[in-house]
């Protein structure tokens, strides 16, 4: 029975997922099929796709029923039908030839280049972050000097983007760090907004600055209340139940007419003041106090700076938390919950803190939203809002702060910008409104990112502490947590 130490020790090989991982790493990269088969296979596949498009489209595209005198009239649109088949065939063929069935997918080319850049230039992230910060700091003045004609529109857009940056950063704590897929984040946004709206309309003394911490605390409280039953669930179940909770809050707001005003919402929410001074034309306005000429734009600039500071605080606190034991526990939780428990970490409490802190920032953003709009109603807090915030976090790269900024600018700013691009309506006709296609563009962006960079724009992870050298950790090693 006893063997010597020199003999082969164990027949046991690494087990389970570990073994799969090792094998995966050892195995040669499998790409595509034999080159001589590529074209034939691609053609076959494309033909199958075209056939499918033809079958599916036959009743929708080829045949058209119209109400005619004496009943329905069937007209055929063969051109449209054949064109759609041709488009599907060509698109599928190109995808096959250059992405799916080739040895060197073009997408790999981009991915390799992007990843290499981040690894070779570790300071790049910091430099970009600092540049963005400085730019955001002077943005209102940049806009007023460069685009004086559209200053109000652009500053409004900047405020909107900044709100989504803040929401993205708040949700990033829950989804990106703790790895808990929360589809009902907008609930906390709503709690913050309604908390401020109700407090300020019922109590004269409560202004924006006193209501802000209260709204944050209330949202955090709701985060704990909702989190407690939910956090026992894992993966997909967690996602579904958070989604349901988000909707429940909205529906309560919609139906509790006496308290929330129901679908009519709450109006007359006070504007924020600067040390008690209001942004009005009168004697006691900010402009008079500072001795500058009154302009409506001042209030927008002020709003911009409020959300800018709130967002920066969110970022600062998140970065700080990552370096504290809670933050490390969040990330450890995302990596392996069972291992966490074996190390004496109370995982329920850890998840609850993530939920509560994420909710708190959502509540702050909600208060800001209420004061900016002056009017809120349940319509602003639909599931779509949650989905957009989550999309920003996922597209930016889970856990990446800069990724959230880039994704917000692209997704929110980009779509607003589409409105102003004249040549689109030249092509598609005068009543073409790109905002109508917002969801289509969202979807395309998602699909594009999932092909090009499945882990989001910035997928590497920065270690929270280093002994000698801080090396970024590749996305392959980083777990995504539950429900992804």
């Amino acid at each position: 029975m006893a063997t010597t130490v020199d003999a082969p020790t164990a027949e046991n090989r690494p087990a389970g997922a570990q073994r799969d991982l090792e094998e995966q790493r050892r195995a040669p990269l499998k790409t595509g099929e034999d080159p001589q088969n590529t074209l034939a296979a691609s053609l076959k596949d494309a033909a199958a796709a075209a056939l499918l498009a033809g079958v599916l489209g036959f009743f929708f595209l080829a045949l058209r029923t119209e109400i005619a005198p004496g009943g329905l009239d069937v007209s055929a649109r063969w051109g449209l039908w054949l064109a759609s088949i041709a488009v599907v065939f060509a698109g599928r063929l190109l995808l096959n030839l250059f992405v799916f069935k080739t040895r060197r997918p073009v997408t790999q080319l981009f991915a390799g280049r992007g990843a290499g850049l981040g690894a070779r230039l570790p300071w790049l992230g910091k430099a970009v972050g600092a540049a963005l910060f400085l730019f955001a700091m002077i943005l209102p003045f940049f806009i007023t000097t460069v685009f004086p004609a559209q200053q109000r529109q652009y500053i409004d857009l900047a405020i909107l983007i900044m709100t989504y940056v803040m929401l993205g950063w708040g949700l990033n704590i829950v989804v990106g760090l703790a790895g808990l897929l929360d589809l009902g984040y907008v609930a906390f946004y709503a709690v913050g907004a309604y908390a401020f709206a109700l407090l300020s309309t019922h109590f004269e003394v409560i202004g924006f600055w006193t209501a802000l911490p209260l709204a944050g605390m209330l949202a955090a409280f709701w985060g704990v209340i909702l989190g407690f039953p939910v956090l026992r669930l894992r993966g997909d179940y967690l996602a579904i139940v958070t989604l349901a909770f988000g909707e429940m809050i909205r529906i309560v707001l919609l139906n509790w007419y006496d308290f929330t005003g129901g679908p009519n919402g709450i109006s007359g929410i006070p504007k924020p003041t600067l040390f008690g001074l209001e942004f009005t034309r009168g004697e006691d306005g900010v402009a008079a106090f500072l001795g500058i000429e009154y302009s409506t734009i001042h209030r927008f600039i002020y709003l911009y700076y409020i959300i800018f500071i709130l967002a920066i605080v969110t970022n600062f606190v998140t970065m700080r938390l990552r370096r504290l034991p809670v933050g490390r526990a969040w990330e450890a939780l995302r990596e392996d919950e069972i291992a966490c428990r074996s190390l004496g970490i109370n995982t329920t409490n850890t998840k609850l803190t993530a939920f509560a802190i994420g909710a708190m920032f959502g509540g702050f953003a909600g208060s800001f939203f209420a004061t900016r709009q002056g009017f809120i109603s349940p319509e602003s807090f639909t599931f779509l809002e949650s989905a957009i915030i989550l999309a920003i976090v996922v597209l930016g790269g889970l856990g990446s702060q800069i990724g959230v900024v880039i994704a917000s600018v692209v997704m929110i700013g980009g779509i607003e910008m589409l409105r102003n691009i004249g040549f689109l309506s030249d092509i598609f006709g005068p009543d073409f409104d790109p905002v109508k296609y917002r969801m289509l563009i969202f979807g395309l962006a998602m699909v594009g990112i999932m092909i090009w960079k499945p882990r989001g724009l910035i997928s590497t992870r920065e270690p929270t502490i280093a002994l000698k050298e801080r090396k970024r950790i590749g996305a392959d090693y980083v777990a995504q947590g539950e429900g992804h």
Partner: protein, 342 residues
């Protein structure tokens, strides 16, 4: 539910042994059922203070299940699991805490914990039992150093004033983190991973991951370290290094409970061996006793078909033992995976 030391140790041992007099962990009448399957049946044993104790047995014998019960990942169907800090059996404290319905009791120079009443994280946090897993469970996307800092979560949490102090940047937290890093460096030195401190744990080779998991468990400052097959998948040199590491851990004052298939490791370093088969203890004693126990040889028959057991007398004895064990573990019998013996 208050067995005398002799029954707790089992019938195989003769007069009271070191581990019966001064146990750090006592498992008493532990039973774990999964539906109709009895994974562990009425198991009792002691783990001696400062010993390396090995739990061995064929595949599916229930070793990992025992670990999961001890570390709180499973709630045992029946039985008592007592963890002691400080010397001696502390019988009075054990009786008192059992009767009181509390989870633990601090005596004058020690403390007694009833692990079956505690949630898993509390067992590591307060009772100071750390463990590793049969399938390595590291935080793959975090660096080696981060892994070791996560293991020191609880003391660091207090030092950071439950996060509030850390946010405002109290110097006490910076100091505590410095100490935690020192401790991590200490263990990285001992498991030979210092030069990989800033690499992601998922990037380490298999053997290094096993060592890191042990280091991470040691960073929780355990009184008892439970290792589930730490030598699995290691090459002979790594396996020899592991022996040294375990002996070093023992010299640091941590008792070790070890599941192992590798008899080279087991016989060389263990002070005490417990053999399980079909969830039932078939032998308990020091290595020389267990090595020559016919029941143990029988349990391992089918893998170690070496010449030494191909003797008619032994065969007869083996047959008797198999018969005996088979009737003793009827519930476990049919579900036993075939040919899974190592």
């Amino acid at each position: 539910m208050n067995p005398s030391p002799a029954t707790a140790a089992g019938p195989q041992t003769g007069p009271a042994t070191r581990w019966d007099d001064d146990p750090v962990l006592t498992v008493e009448h532990l039973t774990m059922r999964f539906g109709g399957l009895v994974a562990v049946g009425d198991l009792s044993f002691n783990v001696g203070h400062g010993d390396i104790t090995a739990l061995i047995g064929p595949n599916g014998a229930g070793k990992t299940t025992v670990f999961n019960c001890v570390t709180g990942f499973y709630k045992p169907t029946e039985g008592r699991i007592v963890m002691r800090h400080g010397p001696g059996r502390q019988q009075q404290a054990v009786d008192a805490v059992t009767a009181s319905g509390l989870r633990y009791k601090a005596a004058n120079d020690g403390a007694v914990f009833l692990l079956e009443r505690m949630p898993d994280y509390e067992i590591t946090k307060s009772a100071k039992v750390a463990r590793t897993f049969q399938n390595i469970r590291l935080f793959g996307g975090m660096t080696v150093l981060e892994n070791l800092l996560v293991a020191q979560h609880n003391p660091l949490m207090i030092a950071s004033g439950f996060t509030f102090g850390g946010i405002i940047g109290l110097p006490a937290y910076a100091r505590a983190q410095g100490e935690a890093v020192d401790r991590a460096v200490y263990w990285m030195e001992h498991v030979n991973l210092l030069d990989r401190a800033d690499d992601p744990a998922g990037d380490l080779p298999y053997g290094a991951q096993r060592r890191l998991e042990i280091a991470r468990a040691m960073c929780t400052r355990p009184e008892l370290l439970c290792l589930d097959e730490p030598a699995a998948g290691l090459n002979p040199r790594e396996s020899a290094e592991l022996n040294q590491l375990l002996q070093f851990i023992r010299s640091e004052g941590t008792s070790v409970l070890l599941i192992e298939h590798d008899m080279g490791v087991v016989m060389e370093i263990s002070d005490h061996i417990i053999v399980l088969d079909y969830g039932i203890k078939i032998s308990d004693g020091d290595p020389s006793f267990v090595k020559s126990d016919p029941k143990v040889i029988a349990a391992y028959l089918g893998v170690d078909d070496e010449a030494e057991i191909d003797v008619p007398e032994v065969r007869a004895e083996v047959a008797a033992v198999i018969h005996e064990a088979g009737s003793g573990a009827q519930a476990a019998g049919p579900t036993r995976p075939e040919g899974g013996r190592t």
